[in-house]
Structure formats: C-alpha cells, structure tokens
C-alpha cells in the first residue's frame, strides 16, 4: 500500500464518510449541501487512486465525476427551488474546504505525473472540479434568482 492510496483512503473515510452522514440525517438543506460536497471529495480521491494504482486511464473517472457532479447538484437546486427558497443553504466554509482539498491534491498528482499531456488533463480536471463546485454552491445558496422562475 503506497502513500497515494493511503491518502485516498483518508479522504474517503474523512470527507466522503462525513458527507454520507450528512446526507442521511438532518433537514433537507443540510442534505443538499452534503450531496454537493460528496462530489468535491470523491473526485480528488479518484485522482489519488489513479496515481496510486499507476493507471493514468483512471483519470477519466475523475473527469466524468467533475463534469457530472455539479450537473446533479444543479438538478437538485432547480427542482427543489421551492423547498429551499425560504432558507437557502449556504455553506461557503465547507465549500472552500472541499475546494482546498482539490487544490492540494491536483498539484501533487501533477508533480508526480510530470510535464506532459497527462498533466494538462489533470489541470483541466482540477479547474472543472473547483469551478463546478463553486457554481453549484452558488446555485444552492440562491445565487441565480432568475433561474428559479424559468
């Protein structure tokens, strides 16, 4: 077991474990935030696993997750807009914590990959992950009011 897989296991146990707990209990607004954060923690874990198993093709999984995770959250933000309108869930501290995990993992994996096409792909995944996460959090906290009555 190398350090990459150990780091992935720690992120899975700490980050994704906390989001599973958050999505299983509590009020609706907390569950939506936890569902959003689940993507943000799972994607760096997938990147670390790809590096740990030494299979660069596993990066595709992280790419698909970074692309589809915010889409799933936007679906919830759009269809649950009525329930969430009274008390919009905003958890910017947690969002930036998850983004920081991504911002820590992506350069580490990039350094391990070395300057190549794989590194450009990893950087793309990182930008997509952090950007999508911030956009999804903003949509959840009611940042796009014009989308509510579309």
């Amino acid at each position: 077991m190398n350090g990459w897989i150990l780091a992935a296991a720690v992120i899975l146990a700490g980050g994704v474990g906390a989001t599973v707990w958050g999505v299983a209990t509590g009020p609706l607004r907390r569950r939506v935030v936890a569902q959003n954060l689940c993507t943000a923690f799972a994607c760096p874990a997938l990147l670390l696993l790809s590096q740990g198993y030494d299979r660069p093709s596993y990066v595709d999984l992280a790419l698909v997750l970074a692309l589809l995770g915010p889409v799933g959250t936007l679906v919830f933000a759009r269809l649950l807009a009525d329930e969430l309108a009274d008390d919009p869930p905003s958890a910017w501290g947690l969002t930036y914590a998850a983004a920081a995990v991504g911002a820590l993992v992506v350069p580490a994996v990039c350094v391990a990959a070395g300057p190549s096409r794989a590194m450009a792909k990893l950087l793309f995944v990182g930008v997509l992950l952090i950007g999508g996460n911030v956009v999804a959090s903003r949509a959840l906290s009611g940042g796009f009011p014009e989308a509510r009555h579309g």
């Binding site: 897989i5 296991a9 474990g17 989001t19 569902q35 696993l49 589809l68 889409v71 269809l79």
Partner: protein
Amino acid sequence: MADAVIVVALLLVAASATAAVAARDPVRQALVLSVLGVVLAILFTVLQAPDVALSQLAVGSALTPLLLLLAVHKVRRRGRREGPRR
C-alpha cells in the same frame, strides 16, 4: 493493510445504501441515491473495474436523481391541480 481502502469503500457503500433504504421521503431518497451512486463508483474503481465505475457514475450521480425528482415534481403538481376538486 493493502485492503484498507477496499474496506473503507465497502463500509461507505453499506452506510449509504442503508440510509437510502431508511429514507421515507422520495426527495431525500433521491439525494441519498445520488451519493450512493458516487460511492458505488469508488468501490468499483477500488476493485479495478473502471468501466463499470464509469457507467455507474453517469447513471447514478445525475440520471437516477433527475428521473426521481421529475417524477416527484409531476405527481405533486397533478395532486395540487386535482386536490381542490376532491
């Protein structure tokens, strides 16, 4: 020791699947199902089945919750429209 990450992924799947079964409200169940999809994809990756994980991600993280929520939305709207007549 090398199987620790598999154990972690299995525990996460067990916890989120139990939560999905225990949730009574369909909307909350859709949220738990979305997390379950992501966690299952991680389990498949850890078990060295990335192609299964890819399809699980595509279906589980976005499509299943979308279908569930659209169905809930439609049922509620119909109930609201026909409610006063009863």
